[in-house]
């Protein structure tokens, strides 16, 4: 009888401590998650940086009037947009980001299969999408929003340098435009 009592007590003890350990584990986990999202706020979303990097390469190809390279980079950008993960953002930000990514993906797809005039048309809307994305994700680098008043009633794009190199006209009007805003 005593033996049975002892073993029941032991079992209970074990169960309680096990449950406690699990609870603690959960708490640790949620703490970690919070730390993680804090890190996001300090502008280190690696996947957003990859998208930005691809976008800048694409911009440079358009500056160089290189249709073929721009098309390839369009495909690259489609892949990095697909890989984007918004799970660390708030619900509102998530739906906004999903919308942005969907739109940007469509434009990147078109850039991948079009002639240069079309690529530049789509690059305009893509630039707007990427700018809106950066407003949410932030970035570790300083970016310059540049603006050309001539292309399609005025068009903006992002650049890593403040020096103007126009992706809408390329060699035809390489330095047309000005810095509109500095994004930090």
């Amino acid at each position: 009888m005593k033996k049975i009592k002892m073993s029941i007590a032991a079992m209970l003890l074990l169960t309680v401590s096990f449950a406690y350990a699990q609870e603690k584990d959960k708490m640790d986990h949620s703490n970690m998650k919070m730390d993680h999202s804090k890190m996001m706020d300090t502008k280190t979303d690696a996947k957003a940086e990859v998208i930005l990097n691809d976008y800048f390469n694409l911009k440079d190809a358009l500056v160089a009037d290189d249709t073929k390279k721009a098309a390839q980079l369009g495909t690259t950008l489609v892949a990095s947009l697909k890989a984007f993960d918004s799970s660390n953002y708030t619900k509102e930000q998530q739906s906004e980001l999903a919308d942005i990514i969907e739109d940007a993906t469509e434009h990147a797809e078109h850039i991948a299969e079009s002639a240069i005039d079309h690529q530049r048309e789509h690059f305009k809307t893509l630039s707007k999408d990427i700018t809106d994305m950066v407003a949410i994700t932030g970035t570790k680098n300083t970016l310059y929003q540049q603006f050309c008043p001539m292309y399609d009633k005025g068009s903006a794009w992002l650049s890593q340098k403040d020096e103007v190199r126009n992706p809408y006209y390329g060699s035809k009007m390489l330095t047309c435009g000005k810095v509109q805003k500095t994004i930090q």
Partner: protein
């Protein structure tokens, strides 16, 4: 000469046989609440033009004249409709976010402006789908206004 006859015969038989392969017709009775014309107040002339020139490939309802029911024309068309609907479906317009709408409207303007849409292969038979110079101007002005108001 005999060989030519045999080959022609085979083609003819094949042509008859493929008529029996079923085609997935793009047809629906109802116009959903998300339709472009339901959501926006479209002037009558423009509404008609968009319906005639765009809806065959950019909605859930294609008008099928007899030649569109003959193979391999029907297959060719089926492909275009699939692609067209994936790009833009006027019936599902309101399910798009305002960012997506603006984006689509911009593309519509560019496509009509450059004469890429409606497709030449389509206007070749559908003469009334063609945009005259005035019609082009009218529709671009209207769509631009709509885009700026969103």
């Amino acid at each position: 000469m005999k060989i030519v006859k045999i080959i022609a015969g085979i083609f003819l038989v094949a042509l008859v046989l493929i008529q029996f392969i079923p085609v997935d017709y793009n047809q629906n009775d109802t116009v959903p609440q998300t339709d472009f014309m339901v959501v926006h107040k479209v002037p009558e002339a423009i509404q008609k033009k968009i319906q005639v020139s765009c809806y065959d490939c950019h909605s859930n309802n294609t008008q099928y004249p007899w030649y569109n029911r003959v193979q391999p024309v029907a297959w060719f068309l089926e492909d275009h409709i699939k692609e067209g609907k994936a790009e833009l479906n006027f019936n599902e317009w309101d399910s798009l976010s305002s960012r997506r709408k603006t984006s689509k409207l911009r593309s519509i303007i560019k496509q009509i402006e450059s004469g890429e849409m409606p497709l030449d292969s389509y206007t070749l038979i559908h003469r009334d789908a063609k945009f005259s110079k005035e019609e082009t101007e009218e529709i671009i002005n209207w769509v631009t206004q709509l885009k700026d108001s969103l």
